[in-house]
Symmetry: C2
Subunit: 210 residues, 2 copies
């Protein structure tokens, strides 16, 4: 079966409010995409399939001129499947992380390039953190349109839960990225130390030759 998480990411997005396929794709690029990325070419066909399966209904809406857009709305069946998915115990895949795999074999690397890669690692995760923090802030000050739409569809009692869990999710990603950064920082120091030692041993050998 595969994990089919894209389905659930889409259901989750549409649980807040109806959206056109185009807007969904944009959201994936701009916000949800920072938790679950997907390209347009995967989103459009997936929406069609979900419509066929009765998880979504689509309406053709005019969109300026003669153009139309398909607006998708989640069905009760869609909500049910979303709920089932959330309540199902998650599957855990065995580890598969390129960056740690590479790190284990840095003996083969050029020190300078290895340091560069560590700095890239830090940069990448810093960027990620910034994105997530921006999204997190948008939740807390209620400026996220998706959140607002979700809240108006919920009873005030639920508002706190809805916000708190989303903030919690971002917090996890941020914490993990911070762990990556401090790991890479230790990596930079390690590369430097090992380089210096190798250098000084080489110097000694060279010196002893004379």
């Amino acid at each position: 079966m595969g994990s089919m998480s894209l389905r659930y990411a889409l259901l989750a997005l549409l649980s807040a409010r109806p959206l056109s396929a185009y807007d969904i794709a944009k959201q994936f690029e701009a916000s949800v995409g920072y938790v679950w990325y997907a390209p347009d070419s995967q989103i459009y066909p997936q929406l069609r399939r979900m419509e066929d399966e009765g998880l979504l209904t689509a309406a053709e809406l005019p969109s300026g001129g003669r153009r139309t857009k398909r607006e998708y709305q989640i069905t009760d069946e869609g909500i049910n499947q979303l709920r089932d998915w959330i309540n199902t115990p998650a599957e855990y895949q065995r580890e598969r992380d390129v960056h740690h795999l590479r790190a284990a074999y840095l003996e083969w690397a050029d020190s300078e390039l290895a340091s560069q890669n560590m700095r890239r690692h830090i940069e990448f995760h810093q960027d990620q953190i910034e994105q997530w923090q921006a999204l997190r802030a948008g939740l807390i000050d209620r400026s996220s349109p998706t959140l607002v739409a979700r809240l108006v569809a919920a009873t005030p009692l639920e508002h706190q839960r809805i916000v708190a869990y989303k903030v919690f999710a971002y917090d996890g990603l941020i914490a993990r990225a911070r762990a990556e950064i401090s790991w890479a920082e230790r990596g930079l120091i390690l590369i430097d130390e090992l380089e210096r030692e190798a250098g000084s041993v080489a110097d000694q050998e060279q010196a002893s030759r004379f």
Copy 2:
């Protein structure tokens, strides 16, 4: 192209010493698999392809009785590609994490099941940490056969580097898993708090009805 990391995981493994396909598959289950998992059905064909491409050479060795096993050895070309891969700046995929995606929509979950899932999350990562710590210990006390084979093929000067980077890699995975655990622990507290508040509000409402 895809990331093709399996190739490099295999090259990395075989950079230490020749191994039969069977032993490689076992290693993936027992040790390397905790950094980069792959099933037999992926490993065997991949080795054949890499042989065809000249990254590996294979020797048919007797294996008791009339049976034979194919022992694979890395070629110079294989070493070169491994080195190139390590020196190439890593690609970063956009985030795609089921567990954080799920967490963001815990509003739809049953509190009890959500707590169970958090506990499973903690358990999973604790198990992972134990595995990684065992592998890490095997590096430090030089009891890992792969490490020993790698070290005898290297000059004593390099020994420290070789060990240090592998330990470093495991440390990163361990640190990240610890971050996951403390996230999930905060999750448990959060679920509990929100549950209690919802409960007490419900109580008040019920009380006010009389």
